[in-house]
Every structure is written in C-alpha cells, then in structure tokens.
C-alpha cells in the first residue's frame, strides 16, 4: 500500500484511475445487461454456421454486406441474434421483396433447416437474443394477465382484437391472426420493422408467455357473437349496416311498393 500511496501523485495516476473507472463501469454494465441479453447460441453446430454463411453470402449479402456488417441498403446484423433471423426469414419478410416503408410478409423463401443455418451464422457473429425457450411458447400461461398486457402494450398498434392497425407513412402493425407462438415471442424480443423491443426487463418471459396464451385463446375461441367483420370495430360495423342492412331493407321496400303504383 505504501508503494501505491507514494505513486498517487504520479502524472499518470489520473489516467490509470480513469482506465480503472471505465473498466469497472463497463464490467458492471456487462453484468447488469447480461440478464437481459441472450448468450451466444450454443445449440448450433459448426456445420450449421458454415452452411448458413454460404446461404447468407448468396442471398443476404447484397444489402447486409459480405460479413453482415451492413451497407447503405441494409443494417448490420452483428448482434441481432438468432431470434431476429428466425422471425424475419421464417415469416418470409427476409429476403425483402422490395424496399418500402416496411418489409411485407410473403411465403417463406427458405425451409426450416436453411432458416436455422442462417440463424446459426448470424448468431455466431455476436451475442443477441437466441431462439426462445420452448416452455414459453406452450400457450399454458395466464390468459387474463396476457390480455391485460396485450391491451396496455400491443393493442394501440395491433388493435384490441389483434386485427392490425395503421402507423404513419405507410407503415403498419400487421394482424396477428395465424402467427406462430415462436414468431410472436421473437417479435417482442427483437422488435422487427417498426415494432419496439419488449425486452425481458420490460415484459418478462412469463409475461410474453401470457400474451401468447391470450392470443391463442381468443383465436381458438373464435367470435362468440357471430361473424366478426374483420374485428376492425365500429367502422366495419357501420359499413355493414349501410351496405348490407340498408341494402336488404331497400330491396324489401321496393318489393313492398312494386305490386301497385
């Protein structure tokens, strides 16, 4: 300790302190955020990664760059994790059909194995959200809590009945009907297109499981009151009454008055 106290007025002491402080902050930050960050995926084999790299170079590198470092037309994929790849490629959004306000859903271009290989490659580039734990996707959570979370966090864009809604300048929140549990989970975790990220600190994995449970419950139960007219709310109801309801009534009025006059 004596040696240290003697050197404390050394010109480089400030620099040393600064370095120590920065290291400590960085370390603490890394520890604090690792609770939220998925570790680098371990479930992938080396051949998955190398096959994935080939697929990536052939199909994705045009926009995302040869090393997935990004370019003017596509973002860097270092650290986006396997979950982002599985969502984007698994729902057909990537490779993108065309540039636009947001990537549109279309039939998937890659099969499950290829998607997995691509995910393995991207996951190998840096730690990011991994594929979700299957236990969180079973739809056995608390539907009531999920419904509450959904209305508070999701319904403003996706609509209370998950029928989708508009965002600014051509962007939109898609309907969630028919979207798999895994893709819903990954979307919350990675925030694709214009969606915000709902990290595990924001909505816990159990909360995500509840949301998935709620969505599966309302999808399975169908519409208790008959055809739901798209679940879009009063606009489709009003349109239906003006077109179909009033149309039928007018047909009857014409029939009623046609016998005479």
């Amino acid at each position: 300790m004596k040696a240290l106290s003697q050197k404390r007025r050394h010109p480089l002491a400030v620099v040393a302190l600064l370095v120590m402080g920065l290291l400590l902050t960085g370390l603490l930050y890394a520890v604090a955020t690792s609770a939220n960050k998925a570790k680098a995926d371990t479930g992938f084999s080396a051949s998955d990664v190398s096959e994935g790299q080939k697929l990536f170079v052939a199909n994705c590198a045009t926009c995302h760059g040869m090393g997935a470092q990004g370019s003017a037309s596509g973002p860097s994929l270092v650290g986006v994790g396997a979950a982002a790849v599985d969502f984007q490629v698994g729902t057909g959004r990537m490779p993108m059909q065309m540039q636009g306000p947001q990537a549109q859903r279309k039939p998937e271009q890659f099969n499950e194995d290829q998607t997995r290989q691509l995910a393995a490659y991207v996951a190998s580039l840096g730690a990011g959200p991994s594929l979700p734990d299957q236990a969180m996707l079973d739809g056995q959570g608390d539907a009531t809590h999920g419904g509450e979370l959904f209305r508070v966090n999701c319904a403003m864009c996706h609509n209370a009945a998950a029928a989708g809604g508009a965002l600014t300048r051509g962007k939109f929140a898609p309907s969630l009907a028919g979207v798999s549990a895994q893709h819903i989970y990954e979307a919350m975790e990675t925030g694709p297109q214009n969606m915000p990220v709902f990290s595990d600190a924001n909505i816990s994995p159990e909360g995500k499981r509840d949301i998935i449970t709620y969505l599966q419950t309302i999808e399975k139960q169908g519409s208790p009151g008959g055809a739901d007219l798209g679940g879009l709310g009063p606009v489709s109801e009003g349109l239906f009454m003006w077109v179909a309801g009033l149309g039928i009534i007018i047909a009857f009025t014409i029939w009623l008055t046609s016998r005479t006059s």
């Binding site: 009531t144 419904g147 300048r169 419950t217 008959g226 709310g233 009534i249 009623l256 008055t257």
Partner: protein, 557 residues
C-alpha cells in the same frame, strides 16, 4: 241516443263486444277518419317507417337489457364465464355487460340486436332526411316538421352515444375521453363543466350512472314525444307525392291506410325486425370482451365511434395540431389569453363543422322560401334534377359530411388500400375545403344535363337506335314517341326563374331585397325551362317523324 230509435244490436258475440267498446271509446270514428287516410306508394317514402320500427325494436330490446345491466362504476373482480377475463378488476357496469353477453340466455343476441338496431335507426333517419331534402318535401307547410326531424336526428345521435358509453369497456371509455377533451376545450367554463359532468376528475365514478339515466329515460322520452309530434304533422299535412298525371297540390293519389297500408306497414315492421334479428344472430357488433375494461392508459388501434358520430371524430382527426414553423418557433393552434388556454385545435373541428351542418340544415327551408318568395303549399315533390341548385347544395353538404366521415376511418383506409396514413389525411384535408365545391358544380351540371335530356325526350321521343337512310341519302335515327303519362312527368314541373329585386310597400328596393335578388340569380340563372305547350306542338306538328317511322317497318314486312 234518444228513446225513439232502437239502439243497434249486434248479432254476434264479437260484434256485441266491439259495439260495447266503441260506445265507450268512439274508436270507429277515429278508425273511419284514419282508415280512409290516403298515402302514396313509393319505396323512398318508407325510410321514416324503417326508423320508427328500429326505434320500437330499440325500446323492446333495450328494456330487456335494463333487466340485467347495472350502471355502477364500483370496482369488482370478474369471475364469470369468459375465461380470458377471469380475475380481472373491472367496473360493475362492464361486468354486467359481460354477464349479459355470456350468461344471460339470449343476452348477447339482445345486445347485438339493440346495437344493430341503433345503427339502422340513425341510418334510416339520415336517408329519410336526404330523401326529404332532395325532393323538396321540407317546403311549406312542412318546414316545422323538417326541424323536428332534424332534432330527432340529433336526439338519435345522443341516444347512440350515451348507449355506446354504457358498457364501460375500453372503446366506450376512449369515446368519453374525447368528449371530455372537447368539453374542456370550451373557454372559461369547459373545465368546470367537465368536473360537473363526471363528478370530479375524469373518469370519476358517476358518469356511467348519469349517462344511463339519460339513455334510458330522458332521451327516449324526448324521441317518443317528437316522433308523436312528427307523425301528427304527417297526418295534418298529408303525405307528399311524386309528380304524375292526376296528382296535384290539392290531392293525394295512393291507397287508404286501412286495409292496404295497415297490412303493409304491419308486415313491414316484422320485415325490419326480421332483418335486424338475422343480422344480430349472425354478425358480431361491439365485441366488448375484446376491448377489456376501461383503463385510461391504453388506446387501441381502430378506436372509432359508431358511424353517426364518425364525422365529428373525423373532423378532429383532420385538424392539424400545429400551424407550422413561423419565426423559428413552432406555432400551435393553442393560445393562452388572459391566463386561459384557448385550444382551437380541438374547439374548431369539434364544434364548427357540426355547427355549419346543423345550422344550414335547420334554416334551409326558410332561406329557400325567402329567395324564391314562394308562399304556396307544396304537396307534389320535385324530382331532384328539376331543382338543380338545391340538389347541388345538398350534394355539397353530403360531400362535406362524407369527407369527415371518411376521415374517421383514415387508419383503416390506409391499411386496407395500402396507402400512407399521412397521405390519406392530406387528401382529406384538401377535400374538406374543395370537395363540396366540386360536388356542387358537378351535381348542378349533371342535373341541368338530365333536364336537357328530359326536354329532348319530351320533344322528340326516345332514341330507338334504329338508323334509317332516306331516299335522298340522309341518315336519321328514328325516335319513338313517348306515351302521355311518361311525357307528363318530363314536362309538368315547377321551374322558378330568377326573381329580380322587388320594391317594398314604400316603393323602395332595400339592401336586403337586393341581396335576395342576387341570391335568386345565383340559384336560378342556369335554368332549363320545362317544355311549353307551344314547343310540344311544334315538335309534333310537322309530321316529319311519323312519316319516317311508318316507312321502314312497312318496307321490312
């Protein structure tokens, strides 16, 4: 009854009962009077009836709902049949709405019937008003009844809105929040009114109960009273009729109420009931279980009012919040004057368009009467084309309404037509101002064009598409003459012309009169005069057509 005449003795038991009742109520006189009342027959005359029947269905289904609905805003925990809501904290009002939907036998059907009937009620009233406006049925002596109809429309909207707010779900709460915002935007007294209405800070725990009383007592009672008055006036004024041979302002050509219309109207009630019941059974309306209990924090995408409030919501959506950057500062439509906030960004769209629409609607009959100086009674309707300026004004107003109406669903237009939400708003903002003008000009031209076509047909008959070559080489198209009944419709109508400024009693043309004359010019300057007798004779007198018409058919045989 004097003793000398023997009282009528009915031979059958039913007859004796009828006689007994009649002697005490005098119903036969009433029946004789009403039963012989003649009504003209046309499908477009039946929308008022549709509105009335929807209202009766509303009363019936609404009564059923009151048996089970509890308008309390007390908090409770749901433990009913709907699984995805179990254990949720909610108001008793919302819980009882869910109870009606999932546990009361036939409850969901009744709720849906009530809501669908409400949509039809206001829709039928609106179409009825459009019919009355475009055919000129609001003219003397029916101006007052037109105003009653307008008040009924507002009452219908009020009934609908208060009902929409009752289930205390997220959608109804969002609607109330918007209304609260509009109320608070009223200068000086707004905040006070809001606090008074909600019994404190929004949402409070009083509003549902208060709206409930308005919804089931005050508003329906007022509607009922106004409907009664409206119908009395229909009987007093007699029904209007479309122009036709033998129809004039002193008669009504049609069928008597009893038995023809009593049967038709009775049957029509069940048709309306049946159509609504079929819709209610097969199509969901207001799935409150999707929206969840009201909570001031979330607002769901696709949050819209029912269609009849949509235009006001649309006006709010169209209003820009900022004027733009002026002098390097962002200028808002919100000002602070004498310590009071003046939120023009809410006040203008919420009150001005609705104010314009209803003011014009209410005063229009008197405006037209003043311009035309027409003090005659009108029982024969105008065909819309024969009043081009009125029809154009009506279409301009309708377009104004529809632009705002469309704006209320701007988000759904954006998602379903794959366009940008911002572009939809920009276009509708432009159309808000330009749309009515375009509609006015286009409609007036179409009406004048149709009048010219009518004139042509009246004078020269209908085009047959048969081209005939005359011996000297000329080609002509053969026109078939119109039968007299059809021609009557094309030639016999009122066509007021420009009425120049008239001096008043003192022989002076005052400023007001000059203004009237200017408006009269604007109204009737572009005019296609109906075919005169002389023109008709001239067109048919030269015998040209008849000769040609005979020639080719005889040659063909």
């Amino acid at each position: 009854m004097s003793d000398t005449t023997t009282a009528y003795q009915a031979p059958t038991k039913v007859g004796r009962i009828a006689e007994y009742v009649d002697q005490r109520t005098g119903l036969s006189t009433v029946t004789r009077e009403f039963g012989r009342k003649v009504f003209p027959d046309h499908w477009s005359f039946m929308f008022g009836e549709v509105a009335l029947y929807s209202f009766i269905i509303l009363l019936l289904s609404g009564t059923f709902l009151t048996f089970f609905f509890n308008p309390s805003m007390a908090e409770t925990t749901y433990d009913g049949a709907y699984i995805p809501m179990r254990g949720m904290d909610m108001s008793v009002a919302y819980q009882s709405s869910l109870h009606i939907s999932f546990e009361v036998r036939g409850g969901l059907f009744m709720r849906q019937l009530h809501h669908w009937a409400a949509l039809l009620f206001v829709a039928a009233m609106s179409v009825h008003m459009l019919r009355v406006f475009f055919t000129g049925a609001f003219r003397k002596p029916r101006e007052m009844n037109w105003v009653i109809g307008g008040v009924l429309l507002i009452m219908g909207m009020a009934a609908g809105f208060t009902g929409y707010s009752l289930p205390d779900d997220l959608l109804s709460g969002n609607g109330l929040r918007i209304i609260d915002g509009v109320i608070m935007a009223i200068p000086v007294i707004g905040t006070w009114i809001s606090m008074f209405l909600f019994g404190g800070e929004f949402p409070g725990d009083a509003i549902i109960g208060r709206l409930y009383v308005l919804h089931i007592l005050l508003i329906p009672a007022m509607i009922l009273g106004l409907v009664a008055l409206h119908l009395i006036f229909v009987v007093v004024h007699k029904h209007t009729q479309y122009p036709g041979p033998g129809r004039n302002d002193r008669n009504v050509v049609g069928y008597p109420l009893g038995p023809v219309y009593a049967a038709k109207a009775g049957g029509f009630f069940f048709i309306v009931f049946g159509v609504l019941a079929a819709i209610a059974a097969a199509f969901t309306i207001n799935p409150i279980w999707n929206y969840g209990p009201y909570d001031p924090s979330p607002v769901s995408a696709g949050t819209q009012p029912d269609w009849y409030i949509g235009w006001v919501d649309g006006a709010l959506r169209l209003m820009p919040g900022v004027l733009g950057d002026i002098n390097g500062y962002r200028q808002h439509f919100e000002f602070v004057l004498f310590g009071q906030t003046l939120s023009l960004n809410i006040l203008l769209p919420a009150l001005v368009p609705a104010g314009i629409v209803f003011t014009v609607l209410f005063i229009y009959p008197w405006v037209e009467r003043w311009i035309t100086k027409d003090d005659r009674e009108h029982h024969v309707l105008d065909r819309p084309r024969n009043a081009p300026t009125r029809t154009a004004i009506g279409m301009a107003g309708f377009t104004f309404y529809c632009v705002m109406w469309a704006a209320a669903s701007s988000d759904l237009i954006a998602t379903h037509f794959h366009v940008s939400l911002n572009d939809v708003t920009y276009w509708l903002r432009a159309l808000f101002f330009v749309g009515p003008i375009i509609a006015f000009v286009v409609t007036k031209r179409i009406a004048l064009g149709l009048q010219r076509k009518d004139r042509e047909i009246a004078l020269h008959g209908r085009e047959t598409g048969r081209i005939v070559r005359l011996p000297h080489g000329e080609f002509i198209e053969v026109h078939a003459p119109l039968d007299e009944y059809k021609r009557y419709r094309l030639v016999a109508f009122d066509s007021p012309g420009v009425l120049p400024a008239q001096p008043n009693g003192k022989g002076v043309v005052d400023r007001k009169e000059r203004r009237r004359a200017k408006l009269s010019k604007w109204y009737f300057e572009d005019r296609v005069a109906p075919v005169s007798v002389a023109e008709l004779e001239a067109a048919h007198g030269h015998g040209h057509h008849e000769a040609i018409e005979a020639a080719p058919t005889s040659a063909g045989h």
